[in-house]
Structure formats: structure tokens, C-alpha cells
Symmetry: D2
Subunit: 305 residues, 4 copies
């Protein structure tokens, strides 16, 4: 599989939220503003249809439209990665073909998430799907949602399959991800990206390639600067920026007692800042006024522009 | 919402396996044989696109085709229930509309299964989806796959929504399901169906309406007879037939160390009996020869025709 | 191992709550009243130091004292079973020796609950501990607390070890327990007792031996009568009494959003009825006034004496 | 509460394995060798009766003996921390008193591990136990074993209780631990120690105080050197030593399909190196010959003395 991507990828690749007007309508203006906002903040790529993008909650029609529009809006300025995770093999391939036709650079795939497959089943699944995959692929580990962890030995075997070029880990278990990296220590072309922004800097300091951090929707420059400080090992800047990241994590992502607080807070904050709508696809619903006021206060307290 | 169904439903409604030739092709002959086999065994309804039907693993095109073909093949002889569970609200509604157009009698819906919603979010989700639902709906509780339990109070509130007419519980937690039944003790029109066949008889003995039991794909008459013995409180027959059900559970559903042993064993046994193909949709794969031989031996040992 | 127990055991064996005055002091008067209350209600045995007895939260000194006092107070009127579950092998044996010295009839053992052992490790653990066990032993399955399920094949192998005479299942998964029973279908001396009272009647109707039901602390006669109705297959009485049991389950065990609501409600209700103190060992704490008032109202609504 | 400890603590504090001759007998010679081995390797403290020390599996008598002997053997050369985690409040306090009498410097406490308490219950539990606590206390978060996570806000509130001086996190979730650190960002006297050795260096690089790393039983100098390299931000050394740590993690801790592989491998390796017995307390059992040979090979491949 040929690719123009320079491997491994590096930097901050925001998992784009999906701006919505209602359950089945894109907020097109919001999408455009969000893409311009993140690219002007210096992000190194754009990842649509991830968990933060509520991929599983929106229709195929909408996933197709989002893919088309994003590729057009990005216009090749940064690589576009498209999530193709699905419980159905055929639908994942359909999405991959759409992504390829739109000119996306790579796809991202988590395990099927209704049935929890065993490790041998997962490896065989990957082997089979890669025979028809039109784009390079990143593995996506997110056991909180898929009920299954990609074992280090499964990743090691999968990395031998042509076309599998990297991995995003959202397990939040850094010991696990270090084990995966160690299992692939001879593969300097393989990209390791970490989901949780709270330790993106630590991850990059010792050889990780970057972060797929939700907060980069909101403050792309902050995460890009933190990434670059980590690359330069500038601990003064790391400390300063990491405190901001932790403040975001502690004041924007944890309002209410929802498993969905992170997503709700992030979309609400983007709406407060005038970037896009905070409508959420079912089964989630946007914050009401009292929670929105907390988000407003949290944004003011951050003193970030 | 009008319905011709006589509520509550009663009896054995097999969760039909989906006969497949490959990942995206129905085994049409097998489907026909399976439907005739189950209806001639006396089942009281047919439920397609449930967990046993691998609904989440097959494409939308295939789900549509299966729905159309099943309704045509059943020709109104028994009610047809169609699973519309999906992580995307819009796709669930699309499937419901297809089911309605095909003349299905009801739909069956488990919670969205990528994001685990909270109970208030689930209730609001149900309220919203029911405003556009063209058919009566059964709730489907299967926390092992959806990561969320429908709390008794959520079911109680949901049962007030017009069009929600019953529930299938596959939690295997009978204490929980008794609590749900108690919460709805004044609703004698609400149907309670239990997934695990191992205690279907117990469930029916004290007021449950029947079972959505996978084994009824294979030996429909056995489960129908057991159901009827439970209705008649004929303990001699109950004991005798329940031993057969337990023998099936212990010799057909537990080969190998797979979470998917039940599904693999069931499909393999149907293939051994010449009813339909044992092809499984990704991420699962059919049994190989050594496991198939164990299934053959188990079927012989059952001495059921 | 010799035993005077008539096997299998039958009936209602309440898992006695442990009446406490403070974290390290028995409510001796309360214990006496509770034992008289349950025995006069017709229970078929007494089980101390189970989960409902807060065994894990009280000191060894107290467990010894409770065992001594209970055996003395019961005076052989019904069998006394003593929980010896512990994370430490040696302490379980120490408790078993105390139980034997006090004249208890059997002990009850769940898997060690800090480290979750694998099935072969569990079987070997049972084989080793039985070589020194002075009393017959019931297995106790409670995966919610021990993090491990006793697999049917583990129970089947364990049942071969001399001295292991039965099992109590608190998994609430009746399909599982039916599989265990089926695996041991040739062992008519092996006792099967179910924890959740919500389906004790169903369990007894098809061959289960009885219930270790928490509510029998409070209303022993209700559970004994329900058990006997199930034995006699008197469905009218079963229905009537089961409604009471469900009312208890729905109004006494679920106040507040605590994992510990069942225990708190049960102890509070015993205190309201003047039987014993509602003090709870750390890390739990008794209900405050508003919750106690709900318990009072629930007890009144039950119309049971 | 007065303490001679210089707070916050820093460095490598091995969670000492407990050398055993049988289920209830210390390997006294082994213990002495192990203590000398770790202290001569430069460790900054010794932590006995943690998870790695199989605290939950050994009797109270043995826990007392181990505490006494360890304090005597260490002779104040480094601080001694004693695990007092127990499901029973009173037994935790008994252990704390023993530790204080023996001259230990601090105690370490995870939540009660049979009943999973809610966050308010946990905070109240900590408040109550601290009123009688004779030594400073470290919180210990290990949700895999206790079934409960200490929420950042619970830790923040607990840190206000006099005597609670630090925390060890073994959740392996670095995003979580960064949130705890951020919640306590104004408390520069509060110690943060991380369990998983795979990312101890990363943790120290951005402000963590050190590691309670199992591998430091085996190769104390390796972990001390890695810690010091992290303090000095010497990335060349960090990389080199971290590769060794990952090699240990990947070749010694993961033999066989046991949840207990880490513990078994660690004890086996200590035995191979002649430091102490590899006997394991129930419900675990030492490796057999084939697995021991793998450990021998892994140790040789490490090329560490």
C-alpha cells in the first residue's frame, strides 16, 4: 500500500468533534470554523469519526457527508484520518472506500464493539479486513467502549500486516502502552499516539509520537505548544502548559455525573466560544443552562484566548 | 399505535440465527429451511436481528434483505419481530421503517452499545425514538453487550411511553427481572420474555410469558413443549425436557474457550443437521473440524430428532 | 468426614446479620432476640458470617465470639453454618477450627477475595484447604464480591473432594446455577441453596433445596412459608407470598444510591422492629433519620407481623 | 502526628515480596538477604505487606512477625512502610499499632476490599480510622483488587485529614493520577508514588516523587538508577535503563495465562538468583520447572548482575 504520509506521524491530531444541528444534520458552518480553528492552531493532522466525534451515534449518510466535507475543507493542508470503526465488517470497508475516494490519508479502526472478540479472533479479523483496505490503517484501542484490549502480542502480529502503520491508545493505561511500544521497539516507522491529554507530554518525552487529544478541538495551539515543548524537553514550558491542560481536564470535562461529561463539556465549550453548535447525537444531550454557565466560568478562569 | 398483536405475547420466539454464505451474502435456502423448521416446530413468533442473529456484524443492506425475506417467508403465520438495535439513532429508525414496510409486527431495541448512557439519558433516548417509531417495540436488556442495565425504574417509566409493549431480558439475572416484573405488576398487557433457556420454565411457572431461546432454532419443538409443560405445570414433563435443554447448553454451547462458543456451537449444529450454513460474520469464524466433530457427537447423544 | 447433617439440607437458612453496638462490640441481646425470632419463624438452619453478616468487616475476635455465642444460643435446635471466607488460607482454617470447637455443623467458604485466582488455582486451593478442614463445607459463589465465578466444571471437580457437601450461589445468575446443578445431576446428596430471595421459589420448584435469603432475618415465617408452598407447588400461595417478598425487595433494599442499600435497609428494618441494633461495621454506616422513616413506612405498608 | 520522615518522600521504595517457606512460615534467611539486597541497591525505603507482599494471603501472626523482623533488620537505614489494608477496620488498626510498636515509619492503606464502598463512605471511613491511627498514612489506590477507585475529590478531601501524607497509585491509569496530583497541586508536602514500573520514569520527569516498583526487589539498583536519571533528566540513561525495565516486564512478569503471572515470575526470579524461596501463599502456587526455566533464560538474557 502506497502512502504519501511521512511515517511515523508526529504531533497533535485532534479527534474532531462532529458539529451537529440535529441528530441527522451537520453544522456545516461550524465544521468549517472548527477545521480552520484547529489548523490555524498548528495541528499536525485531523481525525474525524473517532469517539470524540460521536461516530457510533450518527448515520452512515452523515459519516459519508462529514468525510467528504472535511477532506474538501482541509484541502491537503494536513493529513486527514477517518474513523471506520463499526460492529459490521462490511460497513467498516464501505467507510474506508468513501474515505479513500474523498482523498483521506488513513483510516482508524477499533475492534468491533458489540461482540467482544478474543485475541485470535481479533487478529484474524484484522488480517481479513486488510486484504480489502484501500488506505493505511491505525489501530485504535479503547477497551472502555469496545470491551476488549488489544493485547501487546496482538498488536505486534498486526503490525506485520501490510498497511497497518500505527496505533492510537485510549486505554489510559500507560504501562500497557509502553509494553506495546516495547514489543514493537524495532519498528521505527510505526506511529504511537496517545489519547488522554493529561499525560501526552510524558508520553512524548520518552519516545511517543504525539497525541490525539480532545482538548485540541478547543485550544489547538496549547496542545501543539505542549507537544513541541515535550519534543524540545523544555520542562519549564511543559509544566506551565500542562497545568493549563489539567485545568481544562478538571473544570471542563467533569461537570455532572455522566460518563459523557467529557464530550458534553467539550462540545459546550466550543459552543460558548462561538465555534460550533453543541448539539449532541442520541443517546446524549447537550448541557442545560446551569452547566453551561459552569463551562463559561471555567473558560474565563483559563485565561487562554 | 395500532397493532394486531394479541398482548401480552406468549410462548417461544426463537432469536433466529442469520444463515450466511459469506460476510455479505444470505444463505437464502438455509433461511427458508430454518423458518419452516421453526414454524413447523410450533414456535409462537420469529425474532430476527437479535444478538443470536449477529445483527451487529452484518451490513445494513443485509439487514434489510433479511427483513424482507423473512416477512415474505413467514407470510403472517406467526408474528415477526425485528431487531433495530444500533449505536446510531437514525439507523435504528431506518431499520424500523424497513420492518414496518415489510409487514413485521414489532421491533426490538437494546440501548445504543458504543456509548454507555446513564439511566436518564436512556429514558430520554427512548422517549425521543418512540415519537417516530412506526411499530410497537420491545425493550431488550443485554448488559454483557451494551454495558448498561435497564434499571427497573427506567423500564417502568419507559412502559408508559405509547408503543412500548414488552421486554426481553438477556441479563441472566432473574432477581433483576423479577424486580422489573414487580415494578410493572399492574400492567397485564406488558410482555416479559426471557433470553436464557436454562431457566425459561421457571420463569414461565411464576408468570413469565415465554422465552426468546437460541436453542429453539435447533429443536423448536423441545422448547415449545417445555413452555407448554410450564404453562400446564406438568412437572414430570418439565423435568424431562429441561434435562434435554441443559444437555444442549452443556454440550453444544460451551466448546472451546470463546465468548462466542454459544453462537458458534448453535450455527455449527444447524449446519450438521443440514438446515443452514455455519458461516459466521466477522469477527467470528465457524468451528473447524475437531470442534464440529464434538458437535456431531453431542447431537447424537441428545437423541432428539 | 462424619456429619449428623441429613443431606442434602433443605429449606430456609437465613444469612444472619451481625448485630453490633459498635465496630468491635456485639449487640448480645440483639443477637439473642434475632436467633429466637428466626428459629421461632421456622427456619431450617442459621448461617452466620456471610456477606449479610458483614463477616469481612469485623475482627477475628468478634468472629470467634459470634460463633461461640450463636452455637450456644441455638443449642442444636437447627444446624449452624459458619462462614470462614478469608483472603488468608490460615485464617480460614483458624475460623473453621473455632466453628468445630463450638459445635457448628458446617462451614461456608467463598474464594479468597483480594487476589482473583484462576479456576485451576481455585480447585487446588480447595483441595489443599480440605485436607485440614474439620467440618463439612459449602462452597459459596459471590462473584460481585470475590471477582471470580466458580465455573461449573470447578464445582464438579470440587464436589469430588470429601467434605464438600453443597453450594450457595449468590451470583443471581440462574442460568449459571442450573448449569452447576446439571453438572452434578448424579449427586443427590449435594445441597444447592440460592442467595437471591426474589427467585427462591422458582429455584425450589424445579429441584433446588432452598434459600439463604437475607429477608428471613426480618420475616422468617414469610420465607419458610414461601419455601413450603414451592415444595408443595401451591401456586396460589406462592404468588401471594412472592408478592410480599418482592415488595420487601423493592421498598426496603433499595433506598439511596448505595451498593450497600440492601444491607443498610435490612439492618435498619430489624432495628425499627426492635430486634437488634442497626449499627454497621466500617466502611458502612447506618441510615440516618430520613431513610429510617422510609423504612418505617415500607414496613407498615407490608402489613406483615 | 509527628514524624521524622522528610516529606515528601522520594525515590524507589520496593513493595517487598514476602519470602515464605510454607503457607504460614517466613523464610527468615531469605527475608534478611532480600532486605540487604535492596538496601545495598540504594532503595529509599522498604514497603512490606503490599499486594506484591501477598499481605492478604498470610495470617495475622505472620504479618506481625514480618513487621517485627523487617523493622529489626532494616535498623532505621531507610524508612519502613507497613501495609495495613484489611477488610476489617479493627484489624487494620491492630496492624497499625504493631507497626508503630516495631518502629515503622508509616503505614499504607487501600480501601476495604470485600465490600466496595461509595466515595462518601470511603472518606468517612478514612476520617474515622485516622482518629486512632498511630502513624502517618499513605493512601493506596488499586481498583483491580479493591473494586473501587479513590476519586480525585476523595483524595483531595482525605489529604486534609491530619496524618495522611501521601498516596501510592497502582491503577496504571496515569491520566487519573495526574488529576489527583492536580487536585493537590498546592500541597508540596504530599507524596505521590506510582506502582507500575513501566512508566515510573515518565512520572518522575514531570513531578512525581518516585516508584513503588516490584522489580526493585530483584534489581534494586536498576530502578534507583532509573529514578535518578529521571530526576536529572538524563534521557540517554533513561532510555537505556527503561529498556531493561521493559525487558523485565515483558519476559519475567508475563509467563503463563495467570492474573498472578507478575507475582509468580518475580518470586521465581528471586529464587533463581538465590535470594529467597519462591513459595507462594494460597491461592497461588509457585512456578513449575518449565516456567522456571523460562525465568532462568529471561534472567540470563537481561545481562544484569
Amino acid at each position: 500500500m502506497k502512502t504519501n504520509l511521512k511515517l511515523p506521524l508526529h504531533g497533535i491530531i485532534p479527534p474532531l468533534i462532529t458539529p451537529l444541528l440535529d441528530n441527522d444534520t451537520l453544522d456545516i458552518k461550524g465544521l468549517e470554523r472548527l477545521i480552520e480553528h484547529t489548523i490555524s492552531g498548528g495541528v499536525h493532522g485531523i481525525f474525524i469519526l473517532g469517539t470524540t466525534g460521536e461516530f457510533a451515534s450518527i448515520s452512515y449518510k452523515l459519516r459519508r457527508e462529514l468525510t467528504e466535507r472535511t477532506c474538501k475543507l482541509v484541502k491537503g493542508r494536513v493529513p486527514v484520518l477517518v474513523g471506520i470503526t463499526d460492529s459490521a465488517f462490511t460497513e467498516s470497508l464501505n467507510l474506508a472506500k468513501i474515505a479513500a475516494n474523498c482523498g483521506a490519508d488513513a483510516v482508524v479502526l477499533a475492534p468491533p464493539y458489540y461482540f467482544a472478540a478474543s485475541q485470535p479472533e481479533l487478529l484474524e479479523y484484522l488480517q481479513r479486513i486488510m486484504t480489502q483496505m484501500p488506505l493505511p490503517l491505525f489501530l485504535y484501542n479503547i477497551p472502555s467502549h469496545t470491551k476488549v484490549m488489544l493485547a501487546p502480542e496482538t498488536v505486534k502480529a498486526a503490525a506485520e500486516i501490510p498497511g497497518i502503520i500505527g496505533m492510537k491508545d485510549s486505554s489510559s493505561d500507560l504501562a500497557y502502552f509502553k509494553q506495546v511500544q516495547y514489543a514493537l521497539k524495532d519498528r521505527d516507522d510505526f506511529t504511537f499516539m496517545v489519547g488522554p491529554e493529561e499525560f501526552m507530554a510524558e508520553f512524548v518525552l520518552t519516545g511517543g509520537h504525539g497525541g490525539v487529544n480532545g482538548g485540541a478541538n478547543l485550544f489547538p495551539k496549547l496542545y501543539v505548544d505542549l507537544y513541541e515543548a515535550a519534543v524540545k524537553r523544555d520542562f519549564k514550558i511543559i509544566h506551565e502548559l500542562q497545568q493549563k491542560v489539567m485545568q481544562i481536564s478538571s473544570s471542563i470535562y467533569n461537570i455532572g455525573n455522566y460518563g459523557s461529561s467529557y464530550l458534553k463539556g467539550l462540545k459546550c465549550a466550543l459552543s460558548v466560544r462561538g465555534i460550533c453548535s453543541d448539539f449532541m447525537a442520541e443517546p446524549f444531550h447537550r448541557f442545560n443552562k446551569p452547566e453551561r454557565e459552569k463551562i463559561e466560568a471555567a473558560l474565563n478562569a483559563l485565561e487562554l484566548q
